[in-house]
């Protein structure tokens, strides 16, 4: 290219330098008079800017806005320092009990000391402002999984989603759409969408989490989620629950430690020396999935030594005789062979429990993710029943929940059965569905074809056990939408990826996790920096585009704020503006109440009393209580109104009415001699926090834990590279030799091993989901994520 002299001169004139080509490529070719049609900014005097208003010109000072965290499902109360629309810092919100205490009096006494936040909440800024976040809807180009994406507008994304879903509906029926989502976050709009679209196949996270615990407790004492009063307990016995590591609510460590400071004894039953076990007075190491056997033996000691609460059993339980007979041979010696826990230890613990003034006896997702989970949870839930340790201070308390009310559309139930057998094959399944069975349908097309899948705020590929099957199932889909903040392993396989919102950009109502009525507002603290839609807005927009309407011609019209406002009004009769103005944007609706089961009231009008069971139900069939001839007593929300040692409802559906112990189905074998389990730690949530640099600095890897002696026998040293191999997958990892794990067990912190998600997450650690066969528990339908045998050898 020839450079004209006058242009060289111009360059020198502007820059004061001698012209060299290298120094300033192509400066000379600026023409200076071209008409630029692409952007119309120049047409306007101020271009892409406009004149600032007087208010906008003022210096910006920071404000604090109250909201709720959602780095996990714990919904901890937080306050956020916002300067000029940008978040500077997040701190605890002492007005919200989540993060302070779960008992009303404790909350009132402790709130002046302030709330608390976990490492994830403290690292939220790193997720919110992560440049790796998805920024615009994108459409797949080329083969599924080829990694080629074309950015499209939100309008195009809505159009694309609507037209593809219409096509699928026409070809295969509405029920061929399966939907999976996180729970407790914008679920109502998604349920509404499925209802109006006509598919019964909505699923959410709970099925991967704690539905076996839910069924364990609900079939025994009628409440799906009793909460532990750690702070006031005399004794705490936890089976496979790690509240100091897999913490969900930021107040858990504080209330546990306050309890310990007051002298509570903490006993943790777990194959792993978890963060909670590390603080325990006693760690009981046992074989995975055998907790139920130990719980039965505790029952055996309490019953045979007549240490139980006779009054409580007489007044508030049924089926004790059958239980007594059943438990007679479940001796501490019997369980020792199964669990490896010495018989005398079990005997001592049973006696200690029985002589305690109060005790929390709880079970969660350790044993909860095994093939015998529900009966195991039931065995545990019966121990407090023997001792009357329900709904009293320092025990397991039924929360008095009040909050927003989901106002559903009027639609006929879909004619199609659910594809996952919920309500049929799984009469005791949970509303969150049966992931494993839904996946089976995606793989086999049975009981009917599933052709489209929507995943919202959930990394399904890494969360559901048996990764290979997940990948295949998604490949079978004709159309896949993933809504998420990052390009997860699931999003990689989508046809359409839609950017999700960060919790600091959206609304939600959070009314769970403490024993008294309380509700915290989650509200947009900042505008989405990607200028995206929230999940609510996107789902609504697709629904509108599809023209979905209910029987009364009502469709998706409300904004998320309006919808939330209506739910609040219907539930607790306050407006969103009122809630926002409350201290810490948190509503407190009452105190913790105890022994609610014994309280009575007048039989309400229109109520129906069952002549056999004396159970009183309202005109809609909803449980009210038990009639004593004059009053209706609250009782427990089981079919009999009492705690049920013997469950007729289980028997009626072909399950064992008593909490039988059965061996885990996928135990180690001679070829795969070690139990493989997984767990969570405080630094991470599920599989979704692994692109957060701060959290990854705190915990960047998940070496395979192995007992030191076991490692020595295998000739392994701490830090060695090993192969972890199960019957379905193998992967390389590093080994951490520790005294803190059962010698027959190896384990991985769940959530690592990403091959997508983001640049920080990629390639760190081993994904545990690949090793597990991926079964559903027979009663609750719980996805089994901690049961398989593996072999370990030097890599």
């Amino acid at each position: 290219m020839e450079i004209l002299k006058k242009e060289k001169n111009l360059f020198s004139e502007v820059t004061g330098k001698k012209f060299t080509r290298r120094e300033f490529l192509k400066w000379s070719s600026v023409t200076g008079t071209a008409a630029i049609a692409s952007g119309l900014f120049l047409d306007n005097k101020l271009g892409i800017f406009r004149e600032a208003t007087a208010a906008e010109k003022e210096a910006k000072t920071g404000t604090w806005i109250y909201t709720c965290c959602n780095m996990c499902g714990g919904q901890t109360g937080i306050k956020v320092n916002v300067i000029d629309g940008v978040i500077r810092k997040i701190e605890p919100n002492e007005h919200n009990p989540i993060g302070v205490a779960n008992i009303y009096n404790d909350f009132v006494n402790e709130k002046s000391r302030g709330g608390r936040m976990c490492p994830k909440g403290n690292s939220a800024i790193k997720s919110l402002y992560d440049p790796d976040r998805l920024k615009t809807p994108m459409k797949r180009i080329g083969e599924r999984g080829s990694g080629q994406w074309e950015p499209i507008t939100w309008e195009q994304a809505i159009e694309e989603a609507a037209s593809k879903l219409t096509e699928i509906k026409k070809k295969y029926g509405a029920e061929s759409l399966v939907w999976f989502s996180e729970d407790h976050s914008f679920t109502h709009i998604q349920i509404d969408f499925c209802d109006l679209f006509g598919t019964p196949n909505y699923h959410n996270h709970a099925n991967l989490c704690d539905v076996s615990r839910k069924r364990g407790f609900s079939t025994v004492m009628g409440d799906e989620r009793p909460l532990a009063d750690f702070q006031n307990a005399d004794y705490v016995l936890l089976f496979g629950w790690n509240p100091l590591g897999a913490m969900k609510w930021a107040h858990l460590p504080a209330i546990i430690n306050r309890g310990r400071e007051k002298g509570a004894k903490l006993v943790v039953v777990d194959p792993v020396f978890s963060a909670t076990a590390a603080k325990a007075d006693e760690w009981i190491s046992l074989r995975p999935g055998t907790d139920g056997a130990m719980a039965l033996a505790i029952g055996n000691v309490i019953v045979t030594e007549k240490l139980y609460n006779k009054d409580f059993i007489e007044n508030w339980t049924i089926g004790f005789d059958e239980y007594e007979k059943f438990i007679a041979d479940k001796t501490p010696e019997w369980q020792e062979k199964i669990t490896s826990v010495p018989a005398d230890v079990v005997r001592r613990i049973a006696r200690e429990l029985a002589s305690s003034k109060s005790a929390v006896i709880d079970v969660w997702s350790g044993p909860g993710h095994h093939t015998n989970a529900t009966q195991g949870s039931r065995a545990v839930a019966m121990i407090p029943a023997l001792l009357g340790f329900y709904d009293k201070s320092g025990t397991m308390i039924s929360p008095d929940k009040k909050g927003g009310k989901h106002i559903k559309f009027s639609v006929d139930k879909s004619k199609a059965q659910r594809v996952d057998g919920l309500g049929t094959k799984y009469p005791f399944g949970h509303g969150s569905g049966i992931y494993i069975e839904a996946r089976e349908a995606m793989l086999t097309g049975k009981p009917y074809p599933v052709k489209a899948a929507v995943f919202v705020f959930q990394n399904w590929v890494m969360s559901v056990p048996n990764t290979a099957k997940n990948l295949e199932a998604i490949k079978n889909m004709e159309f896949v939408i993933v809504v998420d903040t990052h390009l997860s392993e699931t999003a990689e396989l989508a046809d359409l990826i839609v950017p999700g919102s960060n919790f600091l950009e959206r609304y939600d109502l959070n009314s769970n996790w403490v024993t008294f009525p309380a509700l915290g507002l989650r509200q947009p603290v900042v505008k989405s920096w990607i200028n995206g839609m929230t999940e609510y807005e996107f789902v609504k927009a697709v629904g509108k585009k599809l023209g979905l309407k209910d029987k009364n011609g009502k469709g998706f019209e409300k904004t998320d704020e309006e919808a939330m406002n209506e739910e609040l009004k219907a539930g607790i009769n306050i407006s969103i503006a009122e809630l926002r103005a409350m201290d810490g944007a948190t509503w407190i609706g009452g105190k913790t109440t105890y022994e609610k089961y014994s309280k009575s009231a007048k039989v309400p009008e229109g109520a129906v009393v069952n002549t056999d069971t004396k159970v009183v139900k309202d005109k809609d069939g909803k449980y009210i209580g038990v009639s004593n001839g004059f009053w209706v007593v609250n009782g427990f929300k089981t079919p009999s109104g009492k705690i049920e040692f013997y469950s007729k409802q289980l028997k009626d559906k072909g399950y064992d009415p008593l909490p039988v112990y059965t061996e885990p189905e996928d135990k180690p074998t001679s070829e795969y001699p070690f139990y493989l389990i997984g767990w969570k730690q405080a630094e991470h949530t599920h599989t979704r926090t692994f692109n957060n640099e701060w959290l990854m600095e705190m915990k960047s890897d998940n070496p395979l834990w192995m007992n030191t002696d076991t490692g020595k026998k295998l000739g392994l040293n701490d830090g060695d590279e090993v192969w972890i191999e199960s019957p379905i997958s193998k992967a390389k990892g590093k080994v951490h030799l520790t005294e803190g794990i059962h010698p027959e067990v190896v384990g991985l912190h769940h959530g690592y091993g990403h091959w997508a998600l983001g640049s920080v997450a990629k390639g760190k650690g081993v994904a545990d989901g690949q090793f597990f066969p991926g079964k559903a528990e027979a009663i609750s339908g719980q996805a089994i994520t901690k049961e398989v045998g593996v072999k370990i050898y030097k890599a």
């Binding site: 920071g62 300067i83 500077r88 810092k89 997040i90 701190e91 605890p92 302030g114 608390r116 936040m117 976990c118 490492p119 994830k120 909440g121 403290n122 690292s123 800024i125 100091l244 590591g245 913490m247 930021a250 858990l252 460590p253 504080a254 430690n257 306050r258 310990r260 400071e261 020396f273 963060a275 590390a278 603080k279 760690w283 190491s285 405080a682 630094e683 640099e693 701060w694 959290l695 990854m696 600095e697 705190m698 915990k699 890897d701 070496p703 007992n707 030191t708 002696d709 701490d718 830090g719 590093k734 951490h736 520790t738 005294e739 803190g740 794990i741 010698p743």
Partner: protein
Amino acid sequence: MKNQLGFYFNQDNCIGCRACEGACKQQWNVDVTVRYRKVHTLEGGKYPNPITCYLSLGCNHCEEPACIEVCPVKRIEKREKDGLVVYNDISLNTDGTLNYEKVTCVSCGNCKNACPYSIPQINESPSKGKKRYEKCIGCYPRVDEGLKPACVQTCLGLALEWDKLAENEKISGTIKQLTGFPDPSDTKPSTRFKPARKTSNDLKEVVLR
């Protein structure tokens, strides 16, 4: 020093969650590789009676800090009013973050080498200002406003507290040294401890875990 402030670390309550590390990072916009506060994990014991405990450490704001004298540019000072050991070459930005643009540090590492607890850490490639050593400053801008340090405020397990050293000394069971914490006689650190109820003498720091 009469009004010396200091951390109180109740090891029995520390659950090793690292919320303190996160709160510190947020407070001072500290990116990865530099940790003003760090939680150390210690393991010991023998199956089935293993021990895991934690040690969360920021600057100990020593009564006789070793770092001050060895600094060739004299950028470290002990505050008259509360004994906090701070830098004299940083200021506060309007958004409350630290401004290191006029930092005088020559990155000699003397402070880190002199500190028995290896608290100062090098920030190799800061986005603003030059390479320098940084450390916990006891959140003095917060403290001056009557707030507790960020790590103390967020602590999930009631493990970190903050008060006048004289007050912390009065708590029953208070000791000056925990396993894993170097000899305090050299610099007289202002941190006090309550030990975990279960401990052992074979504790080792574990990194890979």
